[in-house]
């Protein structure tokens, strides 16, 4: 048994070998998807589920998913970002203190970025970030009651691409789209854009996306292409990017 983290991403005792009959179906809050008394070992539960006595109850709408041996979760779309450890995020500095920065990452509460959580930072040599600056960081801890903490270095202390994001343009997209943008292999829209243009991009799991390119026109184009791609199939996305590229390339 492990402890539960903020989102109830924890385990549950008992359970059954037989999967719930609701797996793959769309479920709504309050639905009882599994009777835990029907024998079984350990059932692991993820987001959108909660144990109530001997029942497994849905708390968020979505599709019930199941992986063997016995992990259940509800796959839904939550637009509001809820931080999880090791997520990469893009945030904006909202407050500055001697020891730490307060960063808005669009979550339920603001995050805390210690002034020393940068590659090579010391008490004397801290990065100079001001209110309103963007930063690309990694979530290092979350807890229900304290702010999530961030770091601008990887586990070994290297910058690894994290850090302040100078200039550029920051925009918001859905967390679902952000996930697509971050997925491997590279999603269609980014591949298409990358084929024709050169730009810098930082995508946070929190749906904040930062773009910088040589000209404002290209920056705006990239941003628009990304936002437009949300409800398009890969083929549609490629066509959309192509037509956008044509517009810029024509004098």
């Amino acid at each position: 048994m492990l402890q539960s983290s903020g989102q109830g991403d924890g385990p549950s005792t008992s359970g059954s070998e037989q999967a719930s009959s609701y797996v793959g179906q769309i479920v709504a809050p309050g639905d009882i998807v599994l009777d835990l008394t029907q024998a079984g070992k350990l059932v692991r539960i993820g987001g959108g589920l909660q144990q109530d006595g001997t029942s497994l109850v849905v708390t968020k709408a979505g599709r019930l998913r199941h992986t063997k041996p016995s992990k259940y979760w509800v796959e839904g779309s939550q637009r509001r970002y809820v931080p999880a450890v090791e997520d990469v995020v893009v945030g904006v500095v909202v407050e500055r203190y001697a020891e730490h920065l307060v960063i808005d990452i669009g979550g339920p509460v603001t995050a805390l970025l210690p002034a020393l959580a940068f590659e090579g930072a010391t008490r004397r040599n801290k990065p100079n970030l001001n209110i309103g600056d963007s930063v690309y960081a990694r979530v290092t801890s979350t807890s229900r009651d304290t702010e999530p903490t961030l770091a601008c270095h990887d586990a070994s202390g290297r910058a690894a691409g994290f850090g302040p994001l100078a200039k550029g343009y920051l925009f918001q997209c859905s967390t679902g789209l952000a996930r697509t943008l971050l997925s491997r292999p590279t999603c269609a829209v980014l591949e298409a854009l990358g084929g024709g243009l050169s730009f810098e991009l930082a995508v946070g799991m929190n749906g904040k996306v930062w773009v910088d390119a040589a000209s404002a026109a290209i920056t705006v184009l990239v941003a628009n292409a990304i936002i437009n791609s949300e409800f398009l199939s890969p083929t549609q996305a490629k066509i959309m990017v192509k037509s956008l590229l044509k517009q810029v390339q024509q004098p």
């Binding site: 809050p29 639905d31 009777d35 968020k60 709408a61």
Partner: protein, 247 residues
């Protein structure tokens, strides 16, 4: 009131709800939204959060729910202020607020048109919007208003119960009852209750016999199942639409 046999002015039977429409995710800047219409009555609800709260208003043990009720036009009056409070306490019955300590969840209600049964329409809309926002909840709610039409003199018999009344029916009624009910979930276990859907919220206007109230409650229970079935259908549709690209 209704001269043609057992039909109402708009052609409905006494026990018939108006046509429902629910659109989810209309507001792009909100974390969740839903527009719920019952023919002429229509409410748009946006949900924002869980989000940062000013330290003065936060609760260290749970998320704070706030409701803002915007009338169709003009500014908030005492009635709207009361509706705001009733709606908030109703939603508190289902929102799992302890999961987000110190955060806030805002529910913004915009009345688009009021042709009767407004509070019910707003509760249904708010519930759909919270689901759309992915706010963890213990279950779904369904709300129904019912009107007790004045007895026709000489006609004898009890008051007619008119489900989901229009503004005109509501204003002409001897009494109205607005209820928000828990819905019966899909269940893998068979320990369903036999008592029927329990009442989360009840407000009434006008005088009636206790028996009339209880009869109204039973009618509302039946109607709430229709509403719940509709809400789930609309949820299914919305979910499928979201899943379409990408996969």
């Amino acid at each position: 009131m209704s001269s043609q046999g057992s039909l109402r002015k708009d052609g409905r039977t006494f026990n018939q709800l108006r046509g429902m429409v629910c659109d989810r995710g209309l507001l792009h800047r909100a974390d969740g939204s839903a527009k719920w219409s019952q023919d002429g009555t229509s409410v748009l609800v946006g949900v924002y959060g869980p989000k940062n709260m000013p330290p003065k208003r936060e609760d260290p043990e749970k998320a704070v729910l706030e409701v803002l009720w915007k009338p169709k036009s003009g500014i908030q009056g005492p009635e709207e202020r009361e509706a705001e409070i009733i709606l908030r306490r109703t939603l508190e019955a289902v929102v799992l607020a302890p999961l987000f300590p110190r955060a806030g969840i805002s529910v913004v209600v915009q009345v688009i048109h009021d042709d009767g049964s407004l509070l019910s329409c707003a509760i249904n809309a708010a519930c759909a919007a919270l689901v759309d926002a992915g706010i963890p909840m213990t279950g779904l709610l369904a709300s129904v208003t019912i009107a007790l039409a004045k007895r026709d003199d000489g006609a004898g018999g009890g008051a007619h119960l008119q489900l989901d009344p229009t503004r005109e029916e509501q204003d002409g009624a001897q009494a109205t009852v607005c209820l928000a009910l828990e819905t019966t979930p899909k269940a893998a276990t068979s320990n369903g209750s036999v008592e029927g859907e329990a009442v989360v919220t009840s407000t009434t206007r006008g005088a009636m016999a206790i028996e009339e109230y209880l009869e109204a409650l039973d009618r509302c229970r039946m109607a709430s199942r229709t509403i719940n079935a509709f809400a789930r259908l609309s949820l299914d549709k919305a979910q499928r639409r979201l899943e379409l690209p990408g996969t």
